[in-house]
Amino acid sequence: MLLIYCPYCEEERSELEFRQAGDAHIARPTNMTEMSDEDFEAFFFLRDNIKGLTFERWRHLNGCGRFFNAARDTVSDKFLTTYKAGLPRPDVSTLRPATEATVETYEATESNAK
């Protein structure tokens, strides 16, 4: 089971307390009634469904209840970092060192133990 760092509670909690909430950094259209069918389809139905590094919203549902953003690898399920909603997409190249310190996966803990 993963430990996920909630940037609001400022602590790692079990993944059971969290829910994924779709892609991050998507601006909800303000003129939805005037949108073309193509634009609405792209916003509402189509997904990048990225294999690899993805930015997504998560919610600390059974905790503080707040939405935040996360950078996660969908192949390993490793959380590279989590950050507060509204902050810009973090620079990926600087993520890795911060990750080890802030978000520990089960695999990382296991390899430390060895």
Partner: protein, 404 residues
Amino acid sequence: MRGHRGWEAQWTSPEPRKDYDVIIIGAGGHGLGTAYYLAKEHGITNIAVLEKGWLGGGNTGRNTTIIRSNYLYDESAGIYDHSLKLWDGLSQDLNYNVMYSARGVMMLSHNVHDQQVFKRHIHANRLNGIDNEWLTPEQAQEFCPPLDISRSARYPINGAALQRRGGTARHDAVAWGYARAAADRGVHIIQNCEVTGIRRNPDGSVAGVDTNRGAINAKKVGVVAAGHTSVLMEMAGVRMPLVSYPLQALVSEPVKPIFPCVVMSNTVHAYISQSDKGELVIGAGTDQYSSYSQTGGLQIITHTLDAICELFPIFRRMKMMRSWGGIVDVTPDRSPILAKTPVQGLYVNCGWGTGGFKATPGSANVFAHTIANDAPHKINAPFTLERFRSGRLIDEAAAAAVAH
């Protein structure tokens, strides 16, 4: 008696040619079946089925082998029952025992809401000529003796819906049977061949694929790649209405025959059957978040086993032997996409989500028709990619007989 020596390979592993009429990406049941029906029914035999791993090693080898067609909407009833009719007789058609066993799929009703929903399904199914019947708790127990129908059960049962033609089949045999039958007709099955790009002509139409074994030309390309459909379609610049999730299943140690049918419970959320090897085959819903990890969280299968133990206390001391995960591609309306794409000569068969195995023969059959004629069969005509633009959804998300 020859001591298990002298077994011959069931299909050849040829070097890829430079040109094919049709390339199918993905050697699972749906992909191999598509090649088989293209060869058998449409006379197209210059086909390659490309597989990045091993044949049948994706979701075809990772499901719980349940077959049923009791879907609510007419479109779904059409395609799933087309499939069920092909299951009946598939072993003879392929000359390969796929062990289709119409042992019945029973869905447990635990409350008034379940009862109303199932009865609505039963009526809708019967209007579409699909067998589905309501059982009282006593009849349900008669059909499935291990079922506890006492009022003191943790989740008492107030009835069940039974599709007698539903059942199970041997998943590996389906892939192997289609592979052998397709290879016999000249289809090339090329394993360990990963597609890395989709080549296009100057006019935008499909020219072939790039692979780790070099470029291969083709007039038509069919993508049948389940959880990795988004990755492949992105190579052709087509963004898909799909999200990939892990779906886990597990089997117990083998025991003597005790469980005669398939039982599903949406409310308690698990399903169970017994394989012919004696293992209890158990599954439930997808993992909570999207992933390509092919593993999934332990808490998900723990939850599934909680449900099984509540429904069938006799299984509480069974040991679980293996668990695994597959990556399923889920559409917004929980119905598949079998269609042409905006790219000429590129076809896609995807979005089967958590329930693709049961559809294998029907899906392959109509997808072959779609590729051969460059136009959909009337059965898969509603399952377009454009329905997410027009809004003409086939919304099994709320209507499907299983919880998601």
